[in-house]
Every structure is written in structure tokens, then in C-alpha cells.
Symmetry: C2
């Protein structure tokens, strides 16, 4: 079952390869009669262009890589979906690379860009720092996501984490919480995404003239609901009192919800909970979860806009785009209650 090649079609139709190619690409100046004859040959042979060859000849791959820590984190799987759909709309395909927050795998992402596999990369780093990225940043178009490193030459899309965390904290304060915890500090996260959220949280407390109690900053060991659950359970067992908790992401919030439920506390009456990312989970927990909602659609669009400009030849300094966010208020932290 040998593949049908362009030249096979050309021979059958009795024309040159280029003419067949012109038909395939709907090049305007092909005589209707010829076009028909060629098309017939294409159909008869079931010809499909070999994309690899096309790529080698044109230098464009039509693919972009999306490098994220974990495919199955709800935030990233939802993001992936939107990226894939936006890519399709813009005529690209997406290769998803999972870095597992492993520094070596993250580095590999940036090195691979040079392998000519993709036209560009959208990358959400977790472990790599600014310098690491700057050092490896070769010529291939790159757009960074998240709050991590931001080398001056690289484009970057994010939400304003400080102000989003501030909003979440204010929301809890407004509904009467006074001992608000922050769940989700993690030693391995050096990217500052968490620390910015923590900063917004502190700022919120400050506004309300509440002194930050270090006991209320809950640490987790890794980015899982399980770790969140354990962290909150530990705090409860240590006797820490709190009436609200801002979580670094929805998975932690789900763990928190479960820990509170298991310990007999009710949400939001005893403890109000705010999550982050507004993944679909938030709408299906009991109680449903109030969550910080980054404008994902805007984020995806912005990332592609920047990337396409780079692919188009832009070589200037890095642009830093901040997309909006909102707070999706649900049962776990309703308006005044």
C-alpha cells in the first residue's frame, strides 16, 4: 500500500507536479478544464499531501506546542481545550507537552523549540526562573503564561494575581470573616505565582487593619486536593481557629471543603471558602465553590495574538499583557451572610 505522491497524480493527469500542487492549493490561475482533470486524478488515486514534506519545503510546521505542568489538572485541561480550539480556528495544531513541574522537562521544552517541530511555543513555567528562560530563549517564537519568570525579551500573558487575591480577601472580609487563612504555600513553587496571591491576601488584611497571623498560612506539600485536605486537617487538629480561607487553586479548595466537612464544620457558616481558577469543579461541589475566575478566553486569545506576531516576524522586546479576572460567587462564600 504505497503512498500516493504528487508525482503519481501528475503522471496520471499528464501534467507537471507544480500544476498538481497548484490545484491542491487552489492557486487561481489554472485553466478550469485542467483543474478538473487533475482533481479527477487526485480523487481516483486518493492523494493526500505529505505534511512532513510540505513542512520541510516551506519551513512552516503549522503546529504550536503548549507546555503545561499537568494535563489532568482541571485548570490546565480546560485551558488546553480552549487552546486547541483557538488553534484550530487559526489554522494550527497543538502538541501538548507535559512538564510535570520538572525543571529538566521544562528546559527540554525550550530546547525542543529549536528542533523545527513547531512554529511556536506557549509555555506555562513552574520551576524555571527568569534567567533560565532568558538563557535558553533562542529565536523561536515563545509566549509565557502565568506569573513566573518574565525575561524582558519574552512575551507574557497573565492575570493580576495580587489584585485578584485582594478581591477574594475583601470578599471574605465583607461577609464578616476575621480570621482568614491562606491555603497553598508550597516550597517547590519558586515562580512567585503563589507569593503574589499571598501578597494580595496580606494587602486585604492590611486594609482591614487585621494583623497577619502566620499560623493562618497553610502549607501544602504538592499541588493536589489530597495535600490541601491534609494541610487543613492538620491545622484543625492543631487547634487553629479560622472562619475563612483563600485557596491557591480549586483543587486545594476541594481538599479544604472535604477537610471541613469531615471535621464537622459547615461551609460557609463556620468557614467560608474561596477557590481559584473557576474550573468546572467549582459548580459541582457541595456547597458550590466561590472562585477567582481568570478570563480564560481573553488569555488564550492574547497568547495567540502575541505568538502569531512573533511568528510573523516581530522581534521587539517582550510585551506583558494582563487579562481580566472576576470573582464567581457561589455558596461556599456567598455575598454577606
Amino acid at each position: 500500500m504505497a503512498r500516493v505522491r504528487l508525482i503519481d497524480v501528475a503522471e496520471l493527469a499528464g501534467v507537471s507536479m507544480k500544476t498538481v500542487s497548484n490545484v491542491v492549493h487552489s492557486y487561481p490561475h489554472v485553466a478550469p478544464a485542467l483543474r478538473e482533470k487533475v482533481q479527477a486524478a487526485i480523487d481516483q488515486l486518493g492523494y493526500r499531501p505529505n505534511l512532513t514534506a510540505r513542512r520541510l519545503a516551506t519551513g512552516k510546521t503549522g503546529m504550536i506546542a503548549l507546555a503545561i505542568p499537568e494535563i489532568d489538572h482541571p485548570y490546565f485541561s480546560e485551558l488546553s481545550r480552549q487552546m486547541a480550539e483557538e488553534a484550530t480556528r487559526r489554522g494550527y495544531r497543538v502538541i501538548i507537552e507535559q512538564t510535570l513541574s520538572d525543571p529538566d522537562l521544562e528546559r527540554a521544552v525550550l530546547s525542543d523549540r529549536e528542533a523545527g517541530l513547531v512554529d511556536g511555543v506557549i509555555f506555562h513555567p513552574v520551576r524555571m526562573g527568569t534567567l533560565d528562560i532568558a538563557k535558553l530563549d533562542a529565536g523561536t517564537p515563545l509566549v509565557l503564561l502565568g506569573e513566573a519568570a518574565m525575561p524582558v525579551m519574552t512575551d507574557h500573558v497573565m492575570i493580576d494575581n495580587v489584585s485578584a487575591a485582594l478581591d477574594a480577601t475583601r470578599h471574605l472580609l465583607a461577609s464578616g470573616c476575621r480570621r482568614i487563612a491562606f491555603l497553598g504555600v508550597i516550597a517547590a513553587d519558586i515562580t512567585g505565582s503563589t507569593s503574589q496571591r499571598l501578597l494580595g491576601y496580606q494587602q486585604g488584611l492590611l486594609e482591614a487593619r487585621i494583623r497577619l497571623d502566620p499560623e493562618l498560612v497553610f502549607t501544602a506539600l504538592e499541588f493536589t486536593a489530597e495535600a490541601g485536605l491534609r494541610s487543613v486537617t492538620d491545622a484543625i487538629e492543631r487547634g487553629v481557629r479560622f472562619d475563612g480561607v483563600v485557596c491557591r487553586d480549586d483543587r486545594f479548595a476541594i481538599g479544604a471543603l472535604k477537610a471541613l466537612h469531615d471535621s464537622g464544620r459547615s461551609v460557609p457558616e463556620d468557614v467560608a471558602v474561596v477557590g481559584w481558577d473557576n474550573t468546572f469543579l467549582a459548580a459541582y461541589t457541595s456547597p458550590t465553590l466561590t472562585s477567582v475566575a481568570p478570563k480564560k478566553t481573553a488569555l488564550v486569545a492574547a497568547a495567540f495574538d502575541l505568538l502569531e506576531e512573533r511568528i510573523g516576524g516581530y522581534r521587539g522586546v517582550g510585551r506583558h499583557v494582563i487579562v481580566g479576572h472576576s470573582l464567581e460567587v457561589r455558596e461556599s462564600a456567598p455575598h454577606a451572610f
Copy 2:
């Protein structure tokens, strides 16, 4: 910033392209001194082989496509992750194609295989029937997932849905349920996956000499938690009485849990709930969710085994592999209670 090519390295090192290529591929018969010199040139220039060119030359792409309905369905995102990791172990990369359960997109998956982009395809069809697939099945290696169509010539991996549904139903019966509902019939799902689960459910009732009450088969409009919630809420509002429910997947189960909670019923005391897929969600709902657990690791391994055999040249009839499953018992449907 022109790319460094093989020939550039060869010139710098003063050797032929093939020698450089030999070094790149760790070909054994290269004199140590030369190898070192070449390696130095590679490092100095920062050479990375152009994968597109390599592909054209070898005919192997090193990529496989994973075509699934939705990236952000927890079952599929967890599956994707495992597929991606298994692929890495076996030296492949994965391109994820989202079909959105759209017949045209599903068809496109099979047509694309011929475009020489990937060495093989792992495909979980939802809408395409046996004949459709058989018709489009060209020469490229293909392995199907799920319970859908099974053309004789195509390899196929699945779990035994009938017996898994039977297990779930028996479990509910054993803990005293007598009016057990089935949630998740969907008109658009023609693949038989749901109908097999329904069959196992009926079989379970039959064993217990319980007549199937059609009122207890809950229909949903689409595969979302929202649709599951609505379906169960409707049933409750219609006055349908039931004390157990087998759900077609975890997302429906989450919707059901929420509907029951919202209507003031407690789980499992009033109604016991069993989900399907054992996604990570199951462990973090309140109560936690008992769920049918396909052996994902085995499934992924089997799919790759079959695919690699096809890639390796196997041309025989389709193999149909059934991987195991278990029932992860959690709070929503504990053992006798």
C-alpha cells in the same frame, strides 16, 4: 539567526555529514578522537537536528495521535496524561486531537492519518459506526478505544462494560437498594457504550428478580454534570422514588450527588450512588463517590502494545483486548450499610 545545519557542523569539524550524523546517533564505529571533535563542534554551534527533515528522510514521525471527544473531561484528561507518559517511555510524542463528538471531526481524524503526520492513531470514537470506520481505515496503524464500533480488521481495547455495570448493580442490591435507577442514557451516543452499561444494569436487576421500571432510566441531554443534575432533579420533581443510582460516568454522578443534596436527600442513607471511571473527582466529593474503575494503566499499555505491533508491520485481523476493572467502594455506596 539562521539555524545550524548538519553540514555546518561537518564543515566546522572538517568531516563529512555522515560522520556527524553517526555521532548524533551514537553509531558505534566512530573513532573516539573524531567523535570528540565532532561533539565539540556540535556544542559550539548549538546544533539540534531538524526533526522535520529527519522524518522526511526516515518516514517515521515518532508521533502518535490520540483522538478523544474532550480534553477536559476528567476521564479523558487523566487518560491523556497516562498516554503521554507511556508515549514518552516508548519514545513517541502525542498529538491530542479533540473530536468534540462531532462526526465530521471524527472522520477527519481517520483521514489525517494518511497525511503522514503521525505513525499511528489511538482513537476513542463516539459517533462513528463500525462501517464508517472500516470504510476510512486506510493502511495507517490504528487502535480503537471504548465500546463503540469494532470493525473486524481493527484493533480494539476496552473494558467489559456489561460485567462492570453488573458489578455496580449487584453492589447496590447487596446493600439493600431495591429501586435502582440508571443515569446517563443519551440519544446522541450511538456507540453502544451506554447501552452495554444499561444491559449490565438490567442483568443485575434480573438476577435479583426485580422488574425493570422504565421510569428509573434517567435520560440526559449531553455528557455534562449539569445535564446529570437536571435529569435527576426532574425525576425527583416528577415524584419518581429510588434508593440507588448507577451513573454512566463520574460527571453524571457528581450532578446526581448535587441534585440529591439540593433536594434534601442524604447519600447514601436515602439514595446510594455509583459513578463510573473513578476519576480523581470521586475521592473529593462529599460524600466520596463509589465508582467503577477501569484499569487505566493496563488499558494504556495494551493500546500501545497493539499500536506498536501495527507500526512494526502486523497486518492481521483486529485483536480485541479486554482489560480489567474493579469497583472502588467509597462513601456514596459503601458495603452493606
